[in-house]
């Protein structure tokens, strides 16, 4: 009999150990406004500037580049300058949104953000890959935002 009495006690210890070891004692609603980087940092590596004011050309090239990268275009709007797509690759599926706006008399600003594995992608190198592909497709160099 004695060995059965201990089971709830042991499981309580085990569960509390699990919870504390994960450090996960937090409200999952906090994910609404969370980010590992500051907004300024985020914008700097998610954005590039191109020396053109042809917004339509930029948006169309963004669409073509996303297709080449394996994204399925789900939504696009020229007036607002937004393109969204999903990449379906089972465990590595990803969602991406790219915005395009004319920045001044000579330049257009492009900003991309990607989420994957239930997290927003915050690795500057991954965004760099996108801008390398986009720059090639546009025959233009992608500048960092100054």
């Amino acid at each position: 009999m004695t060995k059965y009495i201990n089971i709830p006690f042991i499981s309580v210890i085990f569960i509390s150990f699990l919870v504390t070891s994960c450090g996960a004692v937090r409200d999952s609603r906090e994910a609404l406004f969370e980010s590992d980087s500051s907004a300024v940092e985020l914008r700097s590596y998610q954005s590039r500037v191109f020396d053109t004011t042809d917004k339509k050309k930029v948006v169309k090239t963004v669409i073509a580049t996303m297709q080449d990268l394996g994204f399925v275009i789900g939504d696009a709007d020229l007036e607002i300058g937004v393109v969204s797509g999903s990449k379906y690759a089972d465990e590595h599926s990803a969602q991406m949104t790219v915005t395009v706006r004319v920045r001044n008399a000579t330049q257009t600003l492009v900003r991309a953000n990607v989420q994957q594995h239930l997290e927003s992608v915050e690795d500057p190198a991954i965004y760099q890959d996108f801008y390398v592909a986009l720059g090639k497709a546009m025959f233009l160099t992608a500048h960092n935002v100054d």
Binding site: L69, L78, Y88
Partner: protein, 195 residues
């Protein structure tokens, strides 16, 4: 003892499922493209891969017209013929997204589930329904201003009997794309050309 028995049951089921899933995948007679996706690293999500160009060729055809409106109308008509509903349409950019919900029950999976049920006495989830999408982008051919390029991507999301997402995949059977483009050619009274 009971827990150990349960655990070993689940281990067996897991081995069985992973094995059948693997043989299902390799038995699909698919091209190398889907293998490449399986191996894709999360960090490579925005990198062009070796099969990007092959994929582009399969998904793209060139038509000698610059009448975008006519091409969009033909594409929308084709999607309707196949039971798709239009989710998004942006004529300025030539973007059309259609989708449809369909059953996704496959005889092979049902048989495997029944077998597992009989042998181990547990129910395993099988694919039940799917959301199939067709995303089409129409644009001017870069090298030829008298032609229009049509690129289509088919994909699907599949949910199982537990209502969990079991598959999220691009459909890569070349026949699907050939069929779509041959229908589009007929509808436009134009011949399609490969890039």
């Amino acid at each position: 003892m009971h827990i150990i028995r349960q655990a070993s049951k689940f281990l067996l089921i897991f081995l069985f499922c992973s094995n059948s899933a693997w043989s299902g995948m390799s038995g699909g007679g698919d091209t190398g493209a889907s293998d490449a996706i399986e191996e894709m690293e999360a960090a490579d999500v925005l990198k062009l891969t070796a099969d990007s160009m092959a994929l582009r060729q399969m998904q793209t055809r060139k038509y000698s017209t610059r009448d975008d409106t006519r091409v969009i109308q033909a594409v929308v008509g084709l999607l309707q013929d196949d039971g798709f509903t239009i989710q998004e349409l942006e004529a300025d950019l030539g973007v059309v997204l259609g989708s449809k919900n369909r059953e996704a029950i496959e005889a092979g999976q049902v048989a495997a589930a029944v077998l597992v049920g009989v042998v181990f006495g547990v129910a395993i989830p099988i694919d039940k329904y799917q959301l199939m999408s067709a995303s089409i982008v129409i644009s001017e051919a870069p090298s030829d201003s008298n032609s229009t390029i049509v690129r289509v991507t088919f994909s699907r999301l599949v949910w199982n009997t537990d209502n969990d997402l079991s598959k999220a995949e691009r459909l890569e059977e070349p026949e699907m794309y050939q069929l779509f483009f041959s229908k589009l050619s007929k509808s436009l009274f134009l011949t399609e050309n490969q890039l």
